[in-house]
Symmetry: C2
Subunit: 453 residues, 2 copies
């Protein structure tokens, strides 16, 4: 290897890139994507704030929390920045509605955005500084995830946690102005506390993985700022991250196209808070509902032609609760046709028990077809009155080929914020779009509070 960048080691090179990066280096689409991701993230955090996992976490941590310098989203509460990062990260991932880097299956914003926001609140940062740090953090997390390779997730690592911690360290380190040497230590510290097991999915522990990644990444940056040392080869060393938590074979991808390929541009946002394989069917059923006289009752037969993966994962005619309903083609189709929307409310356990929604399932047939892409669906509805409606969805909304528009992300935010009546969603949305001109990068969190708070 003769490339000079390898002489200093991969971890050091990545650290230097982050430390040296200037806001002007980010192409305009990357800057705009940072705002889109942040708006999407903020909605998810508001939507998840009341979940029992968050209530429990606040009950556990609250009595030990520190100087109130950072906001707990969705609560009239400020706590210390590391714990605010923890709780807000947990909340933003809990609905399974957050963003996804599809190639690695990393959810980038939940571990990174709350860390950078908490430090921006506590120590101050301009809007561009916050967006810049956040965009770099996402780039670093996805690069580490790519360098971990497919074996990493398959082996049992909850990749949003194990790689998110690097992103949080990069983002907070950038916000704190760490030089390349200290950024390098921050990455070594992130490497040594990278954690999270897939075994935790399905319990509240899943959320702790995300929260801990945010908090540990933030803490890594705070430690490195003081001169707290770590290995300078935390990712590539024989006993480093890529060899201990992965097989090391994909390590070369860590620095590929550094500064020219921005992973943030590969970020996807879900229009519906459920399994991504179900999304094209929901699109088709929402289109179906627009036809006159189509209801769950008037449908005689609903034929789905899908990629086999969707059927394998989500042929679930009788989901028992909201968690199972998120992977039920039959239930989600019924929600789309009956409710005309598939949002957070549709996955309340009580809503899942509605017999009217369950009545669609016996009418649903499905055929696996390898020629149909995972983001596509062909749906044919036959009504009792003899009419037949074929609907083709070549690409689901929110897929890479058909990304959510800004307006769709705004609508998603409004829906998620609607449970918090005092929030003026239009005002928050405008603040995010204006963030690259804001003197106070964290100022928008004040818009989430009641005026009296």
């Amino acid at each position: 290897v003769t490339d000079a960048r390898y002489d200093e080691g991969e971890t050091a090179a990545l650290a230097r890139f982050v430390a040296d990066s200037r806001w002007d280096d980010l192409p305009a689409p990357v800057r705009h994507e940072a705002k889109r991701a942040l708006l999407n993230w903020l909605g998810c955090a508001l939507g998840g704030a009341a979940d029992p996992a968050i209530v429990n976490a606040l009950a556990a941590i609250g009595p030990y929390a520190g100087v109130p310098r950072a906001s707990v989203i969705g609560y009239p509460l400020r706590i210390d920045a590391p714990n605010a990062a923890l709780v807000n990260a947990m909340a933003s991932n809990i609905l399974d509605f957050d963003d996804t880097h599809l190639a690695t299956v990393i959810h980038p914003s939940p571990p990174i955005a709350p860390a950078v926001l908490a430090i921006a609140e506590a120590e101050g940062a301009t809007g561009p500084a916050l967006l810049h740090a956040f965009a770099l953090g996402v780039d670093v997390a996805c690069r580490v995830g790519t360098a971990a390779g497919p074996e990493h997730y398959a082996h049992g690592w909850h990749i949003s946690g194990t790689c998110g911690v690097f992103g949080a360290a990069a983002a907070v380190g950038k916000l704190l102005g760490l030089d390349a040497a200290r950024m390098n230590w921050a990455f070594g510290l992130a490497a040594t506390q990278a954690a999270g097991l897939v075994e935790s999915l399905g319990s509240m522990a899943k959320s702790w993985n995300i929260g801990a990644a945010a908090k540990n990444g933030l803490t890594a940056a705070l430690l490195a700022r003081t001169g707290f040392t770590a290995s300078t080869r935390g990712i590539e060393a024989p006993r480093g991250f890529a060899h201990v938590l992965a097989d090391g074979t994909s390590l070369g991808a860590l620095l590929d196209d550094l500064g020219s390929r921005w992973y943030l541009l590969e970020n996807a946002y879900k229009p519906y808070p459920c399994g991504v394989v179900v999304h094209p069917v929901i699109d088709a059923c929402l289109a179906l509902r627009a036809e006159p006289g189509v209801t769950v009752d008037t449908i005689r037969r609903l034929e789905l032609r899908l990629n086999a993966l969707a059927i394998e994962r989500a042929d679930r005619p009788r989901p028992r609760d909201g968690l199972e309903a998120k992977l039920s083609l039959q239930y989600c189709a019924a929600c789309a046709i009956h409710d005309g929307t598939v949002g957070v409310a549709q996955f309340d356990d009580a809503r899942v028990a509605d017999p009217l929604l369950a009545s669609l399932a016996p009418k649903v047939g499905m055929v696996g077809d390898p020629s149909v892409a995972t983001d596509a669906a062909h749906v044919i509805a036959s009504l009792h009155d003899g009419r037949v409606f074929p609907i083709d969805v070549p690409h689901a909304r929110g897929s890479v080929a058909r990304p959510l528009t800004d307006a769709e992300i705004e609508a998603k935010f409004r829906a998620l914020a609607s449970a918090t009546p005092w929030i003026d969603a239009a005002c928050v949305i405008e603040a995010i779009w204006q963030l690259d001109r804001a003197a106070d990068g964290a100022g928008f969190v004040r818009l989430l509070r009641r005026s009296s708070q």
Copy 2:
């Protein structure tokens, strides 16, 4: 497998054992060993408190610390319990003077004792409750380490961190009175945040592994108390700890002799703050020094016959700093002969530079002998005046065959506490020996403060 305990899963069985354990179940030697380990740990924490890693950690964390309910050992400072556990754990491991479970190479007390102490201070606990929780924590950490098997450490995991987190969760969970179901969640939470890379040894990041284990284990127990759920099979599940962070082949050892074999009784305490392979040579050289007229100058030749491992690890004639001196047979022999003691002061970088101590190295010869055990040494000193002194050390002080006596642990504590002039070491020692009768289990930390604090 027909044993009923396996029907509930290994993690659940271990959790039930901890939840059901009563103080009366602990044999008297286990209770006494808990006091010995605690006294040894407290000295190490005091001795390490001024290290730059601790100063940096306090600078990083201090501004964000919470309600001051737990003491930072060696400082006139109280902070929130999770962060106190973090900092005290770091301090107690930093001198490489802490206890060791030799079979797993886990240092049990640093991640566990500070967690249980911090919660005892913050929420109250009797002396027996504290000792009981601590003893159970050590048992759990060493059991998980045994179940991880030798491949775990060899693969690159810093085992005191990855297994210490289970011990801290068990100890704090016991102190909080968790029932078996919540203890089981606490273990699932510990499993999903088990972390620490061997790559971090040699930098301050090593200390963060130990501190994070203490803090994360403590937090796992706090979370579980509120009903925060986790996998009930965190250790044995296919995507659980034993299969993701180890090869799973030693899992069966987790529950062997549960309640009859107490791992705390296998705990060893170092008499010298340096590599354990050097210890028998130090013993020999201290004996040699007692002979009339023996000095570094009067020695013509010093022949060491040792296990080859000791030579491979510690034949280091010219150590450049304190860290290297800890693995230098030549330097440690000179300290023993000249200073008559091998303590923390001998590993100051400035002390290592003393030419008089370095002058012994050219006179030292060493021969590897497979018939000599790793805890043994045969030393022959030939003096310029023609006298020859052969010294045999069949077992080093502090080895399993020749454990430190209570008086030796007391002396070690006094030496480590001597840098903190206002501490009445005799008073602290007496408080630890009386801990099984103390109403306030954490009361002894008040003896570490100046009277005005």
